[in-house]
Amino acid sequence: MSVPAPRTARKAGDPPAFQLRLYVAGQTAKSLDAFANLKRICETHLAGQYCIEVIDLTKTPQLAAGDQILAVPTVVRRLPEPIKKIIGDFSNEERVLVGLDVQPINA
């Protein structure tokens, strides 16, 4: 299942620089929290440069093997290369930015 990620301030046809895929297990409170946290961080630091694809493993379990998913939630940074993985509920913003290799914007 794929949920179109919010796309803001981006020219049409131009693929976003950060392609993220979020793996969750069901529409649980944890999953929703994780998605909210991730989205907030991305909006803050990567506004207009990202897209998030959410995969619910309870509905498409066959997709777990492809990205070697064990822990949930996991977000996989598919672009830019190299592939990076961040696990947890993304409550630690600093570590998420380290994981995404993004320079924080001081706001």
Binding site: A64, A65, Q68, L70, A71, I83, I86, I87, D89
Partner: protein, 580 residues
Amino acid sequence: MKKKLTEIAPTLSKAPTGIAGLDEITGGGLPAGRPSLVCGNAGCGKTMLAMEFLVRGATQFGEPGVFMMFEENAAELTANVRSLGFDLDKLAAEKKIALDYVHIERSEFEETGEYDLEGLFIRLGHAIDSIGAKRVVLDTVEALFAGLPNHAVLRAELRRLFRWLKDRGMTAIITGERGEGSAITRYGLEEYVADCVIILDQRIQEQISTRRLRVLKYRGTAHGMNEYPFLIGAHGFSVLPITSLQLDHEVSVQRVPTGVARLDEMLGGKGIFRGSSVLVSGSPGTGKSSIAAKFIESACARGERALFFAYEESKAQIVRNMRSIGIDLATPIKKGLLEIHSSRPTLQGLEQHLVMMHDLVRTFHPTVVAVDPISNLTMAHDDAEAKPTLMRLIDFLKKEQITGIYTSLTSGGDATSAPEDSQLYVSSLMDTWLLLRNVEFTGECNRTIFVRKSRGMAHSNQVREFVVSDTGIDLVDVYLGGDRVLTGSARVAREAQERAVSTLRGEDHQRKLRQLASRRKAIEAQIAALQAEAEAESEEVHFVIAQETLQEKTTHQNTSAMAQQRGGATGTNGQMKQRR
């Protein structure tokens, strides 16, 4: 054994592993619907055991299985187990086995808060559902400890995982690395998997490696407690269970000849019992191998199948050497009735040799097995260790009603040292014990044989000379000269001597007879002479009588004539007659 154990614990259902020997030890297999822990050091065969469990389950027991690997990837594993004859690609295509390679790299991860391992559960659940699996292998789940920094989460999740596997009714094998010191596993997995723990071990002793398996724990069932040697061979995993403590094998009353007629004579005239074990012991060069080969040759000549395990000579060498004493092993080999397996005793440990023998016996189905010699097998082991393993082999063959011939080299070269000392204490396991000895006397070394014991039959107590010639082997009566047993040339000399004495005596007798005959002849001659004389005398008497009669007659005639002429004076004549 299998039956008995299940009788003891009828409630606990078990999932057979299909692994030779393991099901016997565990009384039917692993606990069904529960996880079992298999642990051991690197290279012990954990993965092989787990894989065989899955493959046999899928192919023999109709239970598909999921193999989740954490160390090797699917391609590597498939290649590795192909050497055991398992075609994972085919099984995967038939949806009998699902492979899932779980790989985590510590450096790829960034922890940013709370998480769980639901992804692992989902993957496993998906794999299980996709093929309707009943069996699961996690190999080696401990790799997660290296990949995931938060061990508290990991432990909680593993506990949940094993619980989850149990709830889903999966018969599972979880492999684990052996821990340091007395720890069973490095990360204490045994805390979570408490139903059945199997430990694999590889030990190097005297530069020879032996693998062993032990069931440390099996909740709710009786199981073998010992360490059992095992082998990973061409047909997979093979564990050698000890069953000899049972001593409940059936016995045969059928007798089989040994191939040496005089030896059969010594063994109650009919040879040995089928399925019994025969120990042929002796110092070097006493002809142990020849007896074993002869026995095999005669068995094959009867159309039986035989296995010959040789630890001293190569196959070609045995065939050549035995041909030189008139034993033909080439023909039965060609007919497929005989297989000779030659190997160096140091190739592997004693247990592994025995496991190999087990495998060969199971596939070849012989009625006769010869081991030449068992003493070589135990070179690198002390007797205390060798005995139980040899016992296993002997017992196994007995159970299968296979006649076993074991040769054993005694250390003492001469007749005076007790050969009984160097029999590895196996003689008590043997039904028949033939003892060969070299007897050195008058500058010659000869072989003697006698039946030390033979259970269940009247057997000869005589020492016989054992003669090996280019026409075969035979037993000859020995001579007792004084207080010594005479063999070889001394025996021949003695025989010649006896022959000479008897010839002499014979001649003397003849001479005496001749003497008597001639004396009798002389007497007979004398008798004849006397008889002739007597005859002559009687003829004279007759002649005289006849003459007299004639004379008288003539006289009478004359007188009568005269009287007639004179004219009757007969009275006078009658008086004359009376006077005479």
